[in-house]
């Protein structure tokens, strides 16, 4: 039987829902997590799971850096190996323009204590021997050795298991149909398996957050965008870094077991709920991978798949309170909701538990769309 009341109901068992359930239950909150499918069924189970601190805005860089600090100890904390690895992010610099921006970014990133540096073509080959700087059209790169990667399934499961140990409940294959609001206050959540009374609802429904928000009468500017990724057969481990380029939109890294996993914007990129993969993505990705690392031309692609970015107009997440009392947003993560999830979860838990927040999050509130939009430049995929 499903429990029919809770302090907090979280909609969505992606990385953000799971992490938040952990942080809240740690604070003694009675939490229920609902997912219409299962843990990591949304973007989380389909993502590249790269963890990058090299952002162009200080706020983002700090959020990511704080998250890495949590990631570093997370396997211990959750008592579950999340496959966290720090192989660094290598971000291609293609021309003088890039170089100027890179210099600015690195200066800012250093100011917050990040170990980042600009490297030349020779050093690119030292860090990732199979890269071909000419094919990459790169004159250099920025490199931050503490950036990395974790296993998205294991991380979500690790959080969920730990949350369950602390008393949180997860109801899978349970779809939220309605959110009851009275006098501008959250009253309950209605699912296809029954109703749960609660004062706080967290909308962590990923690409479906817009629909969930509507249930409480809140309009979100988010849009689902189909993104594609692929993974190759495993080969011997040759490199640890995540390679990315903002110009080409490509990102790829090598998994623990040896597969190369990555993505690139598809020539047929679509807004809306489309799940079919495209051949043009496969061709484009294969072509670019071949240019970046020619030796990869001789290996096979095992699978390609799609997932959604939940995209906001400024590519930044929507976090925090809304005009409805008790209705909390935790969505709009675009292409980077995995890497910042540990810190996002902590901040939202602090907010819900009326603690002092480690970092301010007002600038990420939904209210920002009333004013002017500033766009984060360092976005890939």
């Amino acid at each position: 039987m499903m429990k029919n009341n809770a302090d907090v109901v979280i909609i969505g068992a992606g990385i953000n829902g799971c992490a938040l359930a952990y942080e809240l239950s740690k604070r003694g909150k009675d939490v229920i997590v609902l997912d219409r499918r299962h843990i990591a069924a949304g973007a989380t189970g389909r993502c590249g799971a790269g963890i990058r601190q090299q952002w162009s805005t200080k706020e983002n860089a700090i959020l990511a850096k704080k998250s890495v600090e949590i990631f570093e100890n997370l396997s211990n904390e959750l008592n579950y190996d999340i496959g966290f690895r720090q192989g660094g992010y290598l971000i291609a610099i293609h021309d003088e323009n890039d170089m100027q921006q890179a210099k600015k970014n690195v200066e800012m990133q250093k100011s917050i204590g990040l170990d980042v540096r600009i490297i030349d073509a020779d050093e690119i080959k030292e860090i990732v021997p199979i890269l071909e700087p000419k094919g990459m059209e790169a004159i250099g790169a920025t490199f931050c050795p503490t950036d990395g990667h974790a296993d998205p399934f294991k991380t979500a499961y690790g959080y969920a298991m730990a949350a369950i140990k602390q008393g949180a409940r997860f109801y899978k294959f349970t779809e939220v149909k309605k959110i009851r609001v009275k006098d501008n206050e959250i009253k309950s959540v209605v699912t296809d398996r029954g109703e749960i009374k609660t004062g706080v609802v967290v909308n962590a429904a990923g690409a479906w957050s817009k629909q969930v928000a509507k249930m409480a009468g809140i309009e979100l500017p988010n849009k689902p965008v189909r993104k594609e990724a692929l993974v190759t057969e495993p080969i011997k481990r040759i490199f640890d870094a995540m390679v990315i380029s903002f110009r080409h939109g490509i990102y790829f890294s090598q998994m623990e077991e040896g597969q190369i996993l990555g993505g690139i914007p598809s020539p047929e990129e679509k807004t809306g709920y489309h799940t079919e993969p495209t051949f043009s993505f496969l061709q484009r990705m294969a072509y670019m991978l071949g240019k970046y690392a020619p030796v990869l031309k001789s290996i096979n692609v095992m699978r390609q798949w799609t997932g959604y970015y939940d995209v906001t107009p400024d590519a930044l997440p929507i976090l925090g309170k809304t005009s409805i009392e008790g209705f909390i947003q935790c969505n709009g993560f675009s292409g980077h909701g995995f890497m910042i999830s540990p810190m996002v979860a902590r901040l939202l838990a602090q907010l819900i538990n009326d603690e002092k927040l480690d970092l301010p999050i007002e600038r990420l509130s939904i209210n920002r769309f009333k004013g002017k939009v500033f766009k984060e430049k360092s976005v890939v995929g």
């Binding site: 057969e233 080969i235 030796v295």
Partner: protein, 479 residues
């Protein structure tokens, strides 16, 4: 390990060649796969897992991943379906990327065709022949080097009605179909269909890795007759080299004339396990036992009688507990089961053998058809996930058909008729086929007949369920 004399088969071995396994020079014959050449040379351990466990091949039809080796510098080659070539360098336990990689820019070929048929087993072959008879241009694609699918391994005589070739051996039926299809249809062998994409029209991508050709195929209708893949069973040591799928053993003995070992234990007394045992006896292999968990033999009694009168024991209500051996199978421990499927203490038998063949059923190969967006459902009577379809074999996606084992685990005789039905229906919706109604009625009748006995009950049940679910969806969608 080569079979020199066989009561049914003649192995016409082609030119003798040499290849290198981990630096050691070995002999092989042209026209055989790398894995079978290695077995002929007594090599069963092809590589090791990352955790150091020995790896040998399992399925023998390119559908599992336990035979991967590095060939001429290219990692992860499926050695069970890749032909050995003179001077080839074959290495296990090597996952490096080659220094100077053997990459060739693929040749691209675009094909625009009325009907594409994926899989050239009996279902696909029959579909190709049918389309030619109806004047429809079709292309038949298979990733194996030979036409015929599972049939080319069936040295036993088939049941069924004389009209569908009963009393003939599977290999003979395959040959007849092959000859007819080769005359009538365009065929691509050694070519894997690797993806389906909906571009507003049906679009397949296929690759011939051997010759480096990438096909982009635009088709008005597609029939997926991709067959099935072997089920695995969980027991200790099931990853030891020498534990094979039944199909893998058949390929080795009946297609390439190489013995999987000298003495074996067969798990599963369905028709496949029984027939396999008989075929092994014919190849001069000592079959130590057939082990079956159910209280009775699942296959036909006549198949069981054939092996029994050759002295092979069948242990019903028994299961395998463990395969043991250092780096390769040296024996099997079997154990009796009680009414509640619990193992009975003290009933363990230790059987020395050098291979174990697992034949515990097949699962339809539906990964490709699933990519089309056709509705897939788990129907346990059909053997697993299958694409819902109607009596004409059309799935919930327009113009996408399935036939044969890919649509429900059954028989070659029914696969042939399903292939014809699918092809006839697809042909007729492209261009009116003269005498369509009569022909279709006749096919339907034959299919009905084949399924009318008690052994056809499961298939009939599965099919009815599939049709029912199909109509639920199609009706919702159309109207």
């Amino acid at each position: 390990m080569r079979i020199e004399e066989h009561p049914i088969l003649k192995f016409e071995r082609e030119r003798k060649i040499n290849f290198y396994f981990n630096g050691i020079k070995m002999e092989a014959y042209e026209g055989e796969t790398i894995a079978s050449a290695l077995h002929a040379n007594g090599i069963k351990v092809l590589s090791h897992s990352r955790k150091g466990r020995a790896r040998g091949f399992f399925c023998g039809i390119g559908k599992c991943s336990s035979c991967l080796m590095t060939v001429n510098g290219t990692p992860n080659v499926r050695t069970c379906i890749t032909m050995v070539k003179d001077g080839m360098i074959v290495e296990g336990d090597k996952y490096d990327l080659p220094e100077s990689f053997p990459y060739r820019k693929p040749i691209k070929e675009k094909i625009d065709v009325s009907m594409a048929i994926v899989g050239a087993g009996p279902a696909g072959l029959a579909a190709a022949i049918e389309s030619a008879e109806n004047g429809i241009d079709a292309i038949l694609i298979d990733e194996n080097p030979r036409l015929g699918g599972q049939l080319i391994k069936q040295t036993h005589k088939f049941f069924g009605s004389s009209r569908e070739g009963a009393g003939k051996r599977g290999i003979e039926i395959a040959k007849e179909l092959e000859e007819e299809a080769t005359k009538k249809a365009k065929i691509l062998l050694n070519t894997s269909v690797i993806g389906y994409y909906d571009k507003g029209y049906h679009f397949l991508v296929a690759a011939n890795q051997m010759d480096g050709i990438l096909y982009e195929i635009k088709a008005k209708k597609i029939i997926f007759s991709t067959g099935a893949q072997e089920n695995m069973l969980v027991f200790e040591g099931n990853d030891l080299p020498g534990v094979y799928g039944a199909g893998g053993v058949q390929t080795l003995t009946n297609v390439y004339g190489v013995k999987p070992g000298n003495s074996g234990v067969i798990i599963g007394a369905g028709n496949v396990g029984l027939i396999l045992s008989y075929q092994l006896l014919q190849a001069g292999v000592d079959v130590k036992a057939i082990v079956e968990a159910m209280p009775k033999i699942g296959g036909y009694f006549v198949h069981a009688a054939k092996v029994r009168r050759n002295g092979v024991p069948i242990y019903t209500r028994h299961t395998i507990k463990e395969a043991y051996g250092k780096d390769r199978v040296e024996g099997a421990k079997i154990v009796a089961l009680d009414e509640k499927w619990n193992t009975i203490e003290g009933s363990e038998k230790d059987i020395k053998c050098d291979f174990i063949a697992v034949s515990v059923g097949l699962t339809p190969s539906t990964r490709l058809v699933q990519q089309t967006g056709a509705k897939i459902k788990f129907i346990s009577a059909a053997g697993g996930w299958v694409a819902l379809h109607n009596e004409y074999m059309e799935t919930t996606k327009d113009g996408i058909y399935v036939a044969g084992d890919a649509s429900n685990i059954e028989e070659a005789s029914t696969a042939i008729i399903e292939g014809k039905i699918a092809s006839l229906h697809a042909s007729n919706s492209l261009k009116k086929v003269h005498g369509y109604d009569k022909k279709m009625k006749e096919y339907m009748k034959r299919l009905e007949e084949l399924r009318s006995g008690i052994f056809g009950e499961r298939a009939k049940f599965a099919k009815n369920k599939i049709y029912e679910e199909y109509y639920e969806i199609r009706e919702n969608r159309r109207y």
